[in-house]
């Protein structure tokens, strides 16, 4: 049953990604060059709405929420992000948006997905020698900002959400047009 829900959630995600043009490599490149911020603002809005909604719900229906916090192994998470950023700018895709691009009929999206499969194979081959030692360095476990700042999580989620929305409302969408 979970898999059926996941299929529907994937379709909804794919539609929204397609509508905001996050599956367009040219649009991703324009966002990363900070010339147009539509996709960055879309992501920030998603996160802001999600955090305010899910932590508000945690007050009324905590048992219905399946939170899953990923561990913060600082070196591995940061290094992974740095490698990801280079690939993101070069391909104009992320592991999900290339699937959307394939649906749209983009030929390069198929190459990005195949590259991803090759990357996963390479990762699997070097995991024991290169990756396992790396992910155990500076591992702080499953921590949230609330743990680090020692503040209650619900007000923090509302505060960070409001801050995100304030910043993206203030920022221009088309940077060049606004100077």
């Amino acid at each position: 049953m979970k898999n059926v829900y996941a299929l529907f959630i994937g379709v909804a995600m794919g539609l929204l990604i397609q509508r905001i043009r996050a599956s367009s490599p040219a649009a991703i490149a324009a966002n990363l060059r900070l010339e147009n911020l539509s996709i960055i603002k879309f992501m920030a809005m998603t996160i802001a709405v999600g955090m305010m909604l899910v932590y508000s719900l945690s007050l009324v229906m905590p048992d219905a929420l399946h939170f899953s916090i990923k561990p913060t192994y600082v070196v591995g998470v940061l290094l992974g992000g740095l490698v990801f950023g280079v690939g993101f700018a070069l391909s104009g895709y992320c592991p999900g948006t290339c699937a959307v691009g394939i649906g749209e009929g983009r030929r390069d999206a198929l190459f990005a997905l195949l590259g991803g499969v090759a990357g996963a194979l390479l990762f699997t081959l070097v995991y024991t020698t290169l990756i396992e030692p790396l992910v155990s360095v500076m591992d702080f476990g499953k921590i949230t900002l609330a743990d680090v700042l020692h503040v209650p999580v619900v007000p923090l989620a509302i505060g960070v959400g409001v801050l995100f929305i304030a910043v993206i409302t203030w920022l221009p969408t088309d940077v060049r047009k606004h100077g």
Binding site: K2, L7, I9, G10, M13, G14, L15, L16, Q18, R19, I20, S24, P25, A26, A27, A29, R33, N36, F42, M45, T46, I47, V49, S68, I69, P71, G76, V77, L78, G80, G81, F84, G85, V86, G87, F88, A89, S91, Y93, P95, G96, C98, V100, G103, E104, R107, D108, A112, G115, G116, A118, A120, L122, F123, T124, Y127, F140, L156, A157, T173
Partner: protein, 185 residues
């Protein structure tokens, strides 16, 4: 062709802001935020990149079952019949449906930087970039969906660190590639 599309997109959002309607990034972002929470209610936060090593796992179990059983990573990632895989399938379907609503068909190819002058160069960059995003995501334990969207939504520290890394090199690489023009590559 890519510039024309970007301009259309942004002028549409400017028009939306003037008419008092929410701009697309806001309305679509609110919907995506709700979808992410529905996922947390249904089984857990959204994620995608774990599907790639699970594809390798299934392939290895078919051609080299001995290796698959001994590789700790493939054992850890397990079967491909998990929600994440169905999200990836759903994304393809979402792309097919979404493209139907486009007045102008999505181009078969768009360049990310000026040196991508031929389809072969675009395919090369898409492939190499595709390798890097999945390799990087697997080091970190998540990608744009798992770490940035789901992670930051749950206020996970790892999500903020991953996003900082992605945008540091993402912005730097995009600006460098744009400045390099056609030289050398």
């Amino acid at each position: 062709m890519s510039f024309a599309a970007t301009v259309t997109n942004s002028s549409a959002s400017v028009a939306a802001e003037r008419s008092g309607k929410l701009p697309p990034w806001a309305s679509l972002g609110i919907l995506f935020g709700v979808v992410g929470v529905l996922s947390i209610i249904a089984w857990g936060p959204i994620g995608v990149s774990g599907t790639y090593p699970r594809i390798i796992g299934e392939a290895m179990r078919a051609v080299a079952p001995g290796y698959a059983a001994e590789n700790p990573y493939l054992v850890k990632m397990g079967s491909i019949l998990v929600p994440e895989t169905f999200i990836l399938l759903g994304l393809v379907v979402g792309g097919i449906i979404g493209a139907r609503f486009d007045r102008v068909k999505a181009p078969k190819m768009e360049a990310t930087h000026p040196a991508e002058t031929t389809p072969a160069k675009r395919y090369r960059d898409a492939f190499i970039g595709g390798m890097l995003i999945v390799f990087g995501a697997r080091i970190a334990g998540g990608c744009t969906s798992g770490h940035i969207i789901s992670g930051m939504t749950q206020l996970s520290v790892s999500g903020f660190i991953f996003a900082a890394g992605v945008f540091a090199t993402g912005i730097g690489t995009a600006k460098l590639l744009n400045a390099a023009k056609t030289g050398g590559r």
